[in-house]
């Protein structure tokens, strides 16, 4: 496996060069925290961060996205007929994405890229993107990536993995897409033969710093209806205020809404992120709501991530352990706690009310 050594003195110059052929996204610090933004020409990503407040899913999957345009003016020849909206699928690259977040795109891909249907917006945008990861030498206390199918040096979903090595970055080439980007930057110096070992050692050290974990081994064997009817949901959901923080910050939450928005005689059909936390998500036209209570909605979120997804794809949980929902939940609902409750739930032992 090829490792390129990037002298930090060559960093800004290389990024400038990348920007001539890629639209570049990277972490940028606002007033108090980092978020992924489109970088202006000459703007550098700020890699002095744990992770961004909001996940980088919006780089591929914007919170609001126009799908179609239309005219409502009957004088127009093609009125009321939807037309594809103009889209830019030219190459883009996201620089400094954490390995957990990169892994999330593979999870989300299972939803948008299916044998029966392909979501053209997500897939084209995803395919246009080169993912340059930034290994976590110092994970946060709320990270549990190593037990959620990822890890601080995990390479899945990445095209290049950057590792901070003091004066330089090691750039581990993972795909040809990644190699193209490094070439575009003019970063070509191969690191010495000891680099892979060094990366492995740093990775091991970082992995050992992950202080929290979830147990997921039993989830698959639990019966859906038993977990669904488990008594602990009242306790779990009590504090929830049903905001969309957890789902909007989550890199693996993909649910969306489709809306038509008119302006005079024309308009657009757009899609926006949606959240299973909102009553509106499932309410029928008649007013009937299959998930009308907070308990049902909170249960849906966890059941989807930790049971339905597990059963549907047989590929682990729908969570990469980034810990954003734990850090930002206004009322401290902790997916690690809920996951453990679900994983260890025994309906027979539970005649008593849940604790």
């Amino acid at each position: 496996m090829k490792v390129i050594k990037i002298d930090k003195n060559d960093w800004a110059g290389g990024i400038g060069k990348i920007q001539s052929s890629y639209r570049l996204y990277g972490p940028v610090k606002g007033d108090a925290f980092h978020d992924f933004k489109a970088l202006e020409k000459g703007e550098l990503p700020d890699l002095n961060f744990f992770n961004t407040r909001v996940s980088p899913k919006s780089v591929v999957y914007p919170q609001s996205e126009v799908m179609f345009e239309y005219s409502l003016d009957e004088k127009d020849a093609e009125h009321h007929i939807l037309k594809d909206a103009a889209k830019d699928y030219s190459p883009k690259a996201v620089l400094g994405i954490r390995p957990c977040d990169a892994a999330s795109f593979l999870l989300v891909k299972r939803n948008f890229d299916t044998p029966e249907y392909k979501d053209p917006y997500w897939i084209r945008s995803y395919e246009a993107t080169t993912f340059v990861g930034y290994a976590c030498n110092n994970p946060c206390s709320t990270c549990f990536c190593t037990t959620a199918g990822s890890g601080p040096f995990n390479e899945e979903g990445l095209d290049v993995l950057l590792v901070d090595e003091g004066d330089c970055y090691y750039a581990k080439v993972i795909t040809s897409k990644g190699e193209n980007l490094l070439n575009a930057a003019g970063w070509k110096t191969e690191a010495d033969g000891g680099a892979p070992d060094k990366i492995a050692a740093l990775g091991k050290e970082a992995g050992s710093k992950i202080g929290s974990s979830v147990a997921t081994d039993q989830l698959k064997d639990k019966k859906t209806t038993e977990l669904y009817e488990a008594p602990f949901w009242e306790d779990v959901s009590f504090a929830c205020i049903n905001c969309g923080t957890c789902t909007y910050l989550c890199p693996t939450c993909w649910c969306f809404d489709i809306q038509d928005e008119n302006s005079g005689c024309s308009g657009v059909r757009m899609r926006n992120w949606d959240s299973c936390m909102f009553p509106l998500f499932t309410i029928h036209g008649t007013g009937h709501n299959p998930r009308g209570t907070k308990l049902q909605r909170v249960r849906q979120r966890f059941m989807h991530k930790l049971k339905y997804y597990v059963d549907k794809y047989d590929n682990g949980i729908q969570c990469v352990g980034c810990g954003r929902c734990i850090r930002s939940c206004p009322v401290n609902i902790d997916i690690r706690r809920v996951c453990d409750m679900m994983n260890s739930y025994d309906p027979k032992a539970c005649a008593c009310p849940a604790k």
Binding site: P62, S64, E65, V66, K87, D88, S263, V268, M270
Partner: protein, 51 residues
């Protein structure tokens, strides 16, 4: 409203009885003139559609 940046003059309140037709006309003329003088309210126009 003004506190949040809506230009003064765009919003006005009036108490007009159903018998006060003259006042109604005056107020409508007055408000229309003020708003016309302010020109189009570009603040509340949606800018470009999101990509």
């Amino acid at each position: 409203m003004e506190h949040m940046g809506v230009e003064p003059g765009r919003l006005s309140f009036s108490w007009i009885s159903s018998a006060e037709s003259t006042k109604f006309v005056e107020v409508v003329k007055d408000v229309t003139a003020t708003v016309k003088a302010l020109g189009p309210n570009n603040n509340f126009k949606k800018a470009a559609k999101v990509a």
